[in-house]
C-alpha cells in the first residue's frame, strides 16, 4: 500500500464513521478528541519543531474559547458612566476573532520568548496561563467568572441554497472538526517542509549555527508562536461552540499537561505524533472509564509518560517507524 494513500484512506474511514456508528456519545468523544488533536498539532509546531518549552499553551486555547463566546453572545462593559456595548456577532465572525486575538497574544509571547530563554521561559509561559485564568475568574463583568458563559450558539455554516444552518446535529459537528483536523495537519505539514520550517528546526537543533547562516531567530520564533497560538485559538473556538459553555477552568494547567503528554508520547517533531498521541489520550479515558477511577487513570498517565521518556524517548510514532523499517530491512536481506 502506497504510503501516500494511507492518510487519505484514514480520513475517508473517519469521515464515514457517523454513517455506521449511531452511538451519539461515541461521536461526542471522537469530536472532543478531534478538538484536542488540533490543539496538540499546534503545540507540536512550537514544542516539537521549534524546540520552545512553552507550557502555557492552554492560554491560547482558552483565549480563543472566550473570544468566540463573547463575540457570539455579545457583551457590555461599564466604564464609569459610559457603557460600551458589543453586539452579538455571527459565529464565523467570532471564530475569526478568536484566531486573531489568540495569534496576537502569540505574537507578544513570541517576542518575549526571544529575550527570556530556556527554563525561564517555561515559567513565564505557565505564569501567563495562570494570569489569564485569574482574569477570567475575577473580571466577572466580562466573563461571568466561575458562573460561566453559557447558551453559546452552536457552530453554524452557510450552505449555499440553505442559508446559515446551526449545527445541532452531532454528525455535522463531527465532520466540521474532522475537516479542521485535516486542515491543521496540512498547514503544519506545509510549513515544516518549507524554508520556514527548516529555519524553525534549525533553531531547535543548534541555534548558534542557525544564526551563523543567517536565520533571524526572533522572526522565526514569532512566526512559530503566532501560527501555533492562532491554531490553538481556533481549537478553543471550536470547543466553545461545541460544548456551548465556557468557564475559567478552561485555563487550568492540567490541560496544557494533557496536550504535552499527547505530543510527547505520540512523537514530538513528527507530523503524525500529535494525532496518534491525541487519539490515545482522548480515547483512553473513555475506554478506561469502566475499569478505573479518574485518579487511577491519571496515575497511570503520569507513569506512562515517565516510561515513554525512558524507553521510547522519541515517542510512539518514530518508534513504530523504526520498528517497521527494521522489519523491512530484515525481510529484504536473506
Amino acid at each position: 500500500m502506497s504510503p501516500r494513500l494511507t492518510p487519505w484512506l484514514l480520513v475517508a474511514f473517519f469521515a464515514s464513521v457517523p454513517l455506521w456508528i449511531g452511538n451519539q456519545y461515541f461521536l461526542y468523544i471522537l469530536t472532543a478528541t478531534g478538538i484536542f488533536i488540533i490543539a496538540a498539532i499546534s503545540l507540536n509546531l512550537l514544542l516539537g519543531y521549534t524546540g520552545q518549552l512553552s507550557l502555557g499553551h492552554v492560554a491560547f486555547f482558552g483565549i480563543g474559547a472566550y473570544v468566540a463566546a463573547l463575540c457570539s453572545l455579545g457583551f457590555d462593559l461599564e466604564f464609569g458612566s459610559t457603557v460600551f456595548v458589543f453586539p452579538r456577532q455571527p459565529v464565523w465572525v467570532g471564530f475569526i476573532a478568536a484566531i486573531v486575538v489568540a495569534a496576537g497574544f502569540g505574537w507578544l509571547i513570541g517576542r518575549l520568548s526571544f529575550k527570556v530563554r530556556g527554563a525561564y521561559f517555561v515559567i513565564v509561559s505557565i505564569s501567563f496561563a495562570q494570569v489569564m485564568r485569574m482574569v477570567a475568574l475575577n473580571w466577572v463583568d466580562l466573563t461571568e467568572g466561575p458562573m460561566a458563559l453559557n447558551n453559546i450558539p452552536p457552530l453554524s455554516l452557510w450552505i449555499p441554497g440553505e442559508g446559515v444552518i446551526g449545527f445541532f446535529k452531532k454528525e455535522y459537528n463531527y465532520w466540521l472538526v474532522l475537516l479542521l483536523v485535516v486542515l491543521s495537519y496540512v498547514i503544519v505539514q506545509r510549513i515544516v517542509r518549507s524554508r520556514v520550517g527548516r529555519a524553525m528546526i534549525a533553531l531547535r537543533e543548534n541555534e548558534s549555527l542557525a544564526r551563523s547562516v543567517g536565520v533571524d531567530v526572533t522572526r522565526y520564533l514569532v512566526v512559530a508562536t503566532v501560527v501555533s497560538a492562532g491554531m490553538a485559538g481556533a481549537a478553543g473556538a471550536l470547543y466553545t461552540h461545541y460544548i456551548r459553555i465556557v468557564d475559567p477552568d478552561v485555563f487550568l494547567f492540567i490541560y496544557t499537561v494533557i496536550m504535552v503528554i499527547m505530543v510527547v508520547t505520540g512523537g514530538k517533531g513528527t507530523l503524525a505524533g500529535p494525532v496518534v498521541g491525541g487519539f490515545i489520550f482522548g480515547a483512553l479515558p473513555e475506554v478506561l472509564r469502566e475499569v478505573a477511577q479518574p485518579e487511577v487513570q491519571w496515575i497511570l498517565y503520569g507513569i506512562a509518560m515517565i516510561l515513554i521518556v525512558f524507553f521510547l524517548p522519541q515517542g510512539i510514532v518514530p518508534a513504530l517507524a523504526n520498528w517497521w523499517a527494521a522489519k523491512r530491512a530484515k525481510a529484504k536481506s536473506p
Partner: protein
C-alpha cells in the same frame, strides 16, 4: 608595501571580562582572496577575537569593519547576510537532520519563501525548492559527502561531521569564511584532504580566516599568519617569517613553531 584592498579590518578591539583582559587593542587587516591564519597558545584570545568578529560577542571597545560596514553592533544573522560566515569548533551541525537537510538549511539566505508562500505558494515556491536542492547536492559533492547525503548528521563519523560543517558554511555563500579550529581531532590524511578543500574554496574567490592549532596545516596553506599571545599580536607576516620569529618561538616554548619548521 602595497596590499590588496582589505576585506576585513580589526580596529583597536579590546575585550574585558569583569576585570580580565581577554584581548588588548587588537589591530589587523585581512586582504581579499587570501588565507589568513590566527594562531597562538591556549588562552591567547583567538576564540574571543573570533566571537567578536562574527557577532557572538560585543567588544568593550574598538570596531570590526567589513568592506567598510561596521559589524561591531550587528547580530550574527545580519553579519551572515553581509557575507561573513563562520564554522564552530564543537556543535557544528544540526544533529537531528540528514546531511542533505543540513545543507538545505545552510542555504537559508538563498531562498525567499516565507510563511505565506509556504502555505499558499505553488509554482514559484516549488521551483525555488528544486533550485535549492540542486545547489545543496553540488555543495555536498564538493566536500565529498555525496555517499552520505541521506544519513542523519548525528550518525556521521567525526571527520565527516567536520566536512558537513564546512558544507553548511559554504551553503550560506560567504565572501569571508571564518574557520574555528577546523582540523581539531582530524588524523593526518583527513587533515591533508581538508587542506585541499580549503584551497579549492579559496580558489573560488572566498577569503579565509583560520584559527588553528595544527602548525603543519597553518604553515602549509596560509598566505599570512598572525600570532596572538596574552591578547596581543606578537608577530604578523608570511609563514616562513613567523616561524623563525624569536618572540613566537619563545611564546610557544619552542615546540609548535620549531616542529613545523623541520
Amino acid at each position: 608595501m602595497t596590499l590588496p584592498p582589505a576585506l576585513l579590518e580589526i580596529e583597536n578591539v579590546t575585550v574585558h571580562f569583569s576585570g580580565l583582559v581577554a584581548i588588548a587593542d587588537l589591530n589587523f587587516r585581512v586582504p581579499e582572496g587570501r588565507i589568513f591564519s590566527l594562531i597562538g597558545p591556549n588562552g591567547a584570545g583567538k576564540t574571543t577575537a573570533f566571537n567578536v568578529i562574527t557577532g557572538f560577542l560585543k567588544p568593550t571597545s574598538g570596531r570590526v569593519l567589513y568592506r567598510g560596514h561596521d559589524l561591531t553592533r550587528l547580530s550574527p544573522d545580519r553579519i551572515a547576510r553581509l557575507g561573513v560566515v563562520r564554522t564552530f569548533q564543537r556543535t557544528s551541525i544540526f544533529g537531528g537532520c540528514t546531511v542533505f537537510e543540513n545543507v538545505l538549511t545552510g542555504l537559508h539566505l538563498r531562498g525567499t519563501t516565507e510563511t505565506w508562500g509556504a502555505l499558499f505558494g505553488l509554482g514559484r515556491v516549488a521551483a525555488e525548492e528544486r533550485a535549492l536542492a540542486e545547489r545543496a547536492r553540488e555543495i555536498i559533492a564538493f566536500v565529498g559527502l555525496a555517499a552520505r547525503a541521506n544519513e542523519l548528521a548525528a550518525n556521521l563519523a567525526y571527520g565527516e561531521q567536520r566536512k558537513l560543517g564546512i558544507a553548511i558554511a559554504l551553503a550560506a555563500d560567504p565572501k569571508l569564511l571564518l574557520l574555528d579550529e577546523p582540523a581539531a581531532g582530524l588524523n593526518p590524511s583527513e587533515t591533508e584532504e581538508f587542506m585541499h578543500t580549503i584551497q579549492r574554496v579559496r580558489d573560488r574567490g572566498v577569503t579565509i580566516l583560520l584559527v588553528e592549532h595544527d602548525m603543519r596545516l597553518v604553515m602549509a596553506i596560509s598566505d599570512t599568519v598572525v600570532v596572538l599571545n596574552n591578547g596581543v599580536i606578537i608577530a604578523e607576516g608570511p609563514p616562513e617569517a613567523v616561524q623563525n620569529d624569536p618572540e613566537v618561538i619563545r611564546a610557544y616554548l619552542g615546540q609548535g613553531a620549531k616542529r613545523a619548521a623541520d
